[in-house]
Symmetry: C2
Subunit: 299 residues, 2 copies
């Protein structure tokens, strides 16, 4: 089968063997938010020369405004419940390269246990690739990113999820706030000392994030850090506040899933707090789609 | 004398009588960040037909990158200490309308009692207009805005200050984040129910601001509020988190200084928490400049 991890700003294709092993991988240029409805043509061009008849997709491609809106499956849900929420779509008219193929899309997940509720789309598929490895019992997962997801897995089911807008706020504050004005253009080298100072700041009682953020401004005014260290200070402050809330009353360990850079940064922050860490690669999505296809009886 | 309240994006002139009462008021169009160094010409054009020889200015006009950089005075400082930090500038060459006048600029204040430190510029002058009214003892002031200031006044001295980036974050999230995408253009009517739901959300233990913010997104996805109520929900969440941190272990009352709209919003949020409120008008800056001029022996 072919597994398609199609996020808002990324597109990755995996050709899998009959046991879910990755035979080949490719990247496309057009994320689900950027391809302006030309989903069939973009996908056809990317995988046209692979002859596998089954295609499973996950991520923002299945969101409202994506190719097909696949309704959220509610927490708690195991692989069977998640697979039961998959929807099939017919794309034979959109691209000749997709004719004679069967396309499926994985649902996102919603947690309505809190008044505000919470959602994810894409991360549930990465987690589906990990649950067998986790086994029985309760496990805490963190998938850091633009919208970091904290997920509780219990006995193979996704039980609870919580989002933190850490990555989006970091980007916003750098690009558009008074805090970014003192920072050099471009992503500067990571500064461990400044990152750690940001982490420490987030553990000070009483200040709160809205106050602590202004400390990036005063750090510049008072020359506490070099301008090129300010982004790391801001990053440590935001990651620290994310952890402060997510770890309340919780001793770990945490399973980290994501890009190597982000996983390293979060692992460091967690270890600073004495919390144990397991690292997992981002590419779990392909395994997750294979597991879901099998749970649905397709692979 | 003439009092000039010259902030980053606003310019207000007050003509005062010999006891500090306001005889006349005017607004200019060019804030200190917008006037590109033409400070003398802008001021000369605004007050040229007022013949008072003494001009006292406060706000971002005295910041680095303003007309004259007036160094921060350290906390704690009473009116005398603040007045001693005022700097005189000679603008006779910049505008004929300013020749034969004496111009002074009020300093900002810095608090170095915490590792990150904190600063304000402009608010110290509003507070200088209020301290006589407050009298002896300890008082807590809140000046809500782009950067809200929480200030402790003890026996007539400004003892401690703390900034919260509430207003800037509200504007950023509305204009540039995923949360703003679901909101109608322009500032919608205030929705008390949604604002109160945001306040309540900020008092829930465990979530943290980075998590709670994503609730504005899910509120749209789940149809919890009408799109035109989302900005009020976001506002309540941010103000609530500001108060949650600022009021830790504190029972009130709070002296609120600011625009009527913001003061009403904060008063409502404080009263929801059972905290008493005193309201003061924004125009305190003119009184503050008069008091400081008198403390310096100028008026």
């Amino acid at each position: 089968m072919i597994a398609i991890d199609w996020g808002g700003s990324s597109l990755r294709a995996y050709r899998l063997d009959s046991e879910g092993g990755v035979l080949e991988r490719r990247r496309g240029n057009e994320g689900a938010l950027a391809c302006n409805g030309r989903f069939g043509r973009v996908l056809g061009a990317l995988i046209g020369d692979w002859d596998d008849p089954l295609v499973v997709m996950a991520g923002m491609v299945g969101a409202r405004g994506g190719w097909i809106e696949v309704p959220y499956v509610q927490c708690p849900a195991d692989l069977g419940a998640l697979a039961a929420g998959m929807l099939r779509l017919d794309a034979s008219r959109e691209s000749p390269a997709l004719a004679k193929r069967t396309l499926w899309c994985v649902p996102g997940m919603a947690d309505r246990s809190m008044p505000a509720g919470d959602v994810m789309r894409g991360e549930e598929t990465q987690i589906a690739g990990l649950v067998d490895l986790l086994g029985k019992g309760a496990h805490t997962l963190c998938l850091p990113g633009t919208h970091s997801k904290w997920v509780q897995v219990r006995d193979g089911a996704i039980a609870h999820l919580s989002t933190a807008m850490t990555g989006e706020l970091y980007a916003l504050l750098r690009s558009h706030s008074i805090l970014g004005r003192g920072m050099p253009e471009g992503e500067p080298a990571f500064d461990t000392g400044a990152f750690d100072a940001g982490l420490a700041c987030s553990r000070d009682p009483g200040g709160g994030l809205l106050h602590d953020l202004f400390g990036v401004r005063t750090a510049l005014l008072f020359g506490r850090f070099q301008p090129q260290a300010l982004a790391s200070y801001l990053s440590g402050m935001l990651v620290g506040h994310e952890l402060q809330a997510a770890l309340a009353g919780f001793a770990g360990p945490v399973h980290l899933v994501g890009s190597e850079t982000l996983v390293e940064r979060y692992a460091h922050a967690l270890q600073e707090r004495g919390v144990g860490v397991h690292r997992h690669p981002e590419e779990l999505a392909a395994t997750g789609m294979f597991r879901l296809a099998r749970a649905r009886g397709l692979a």
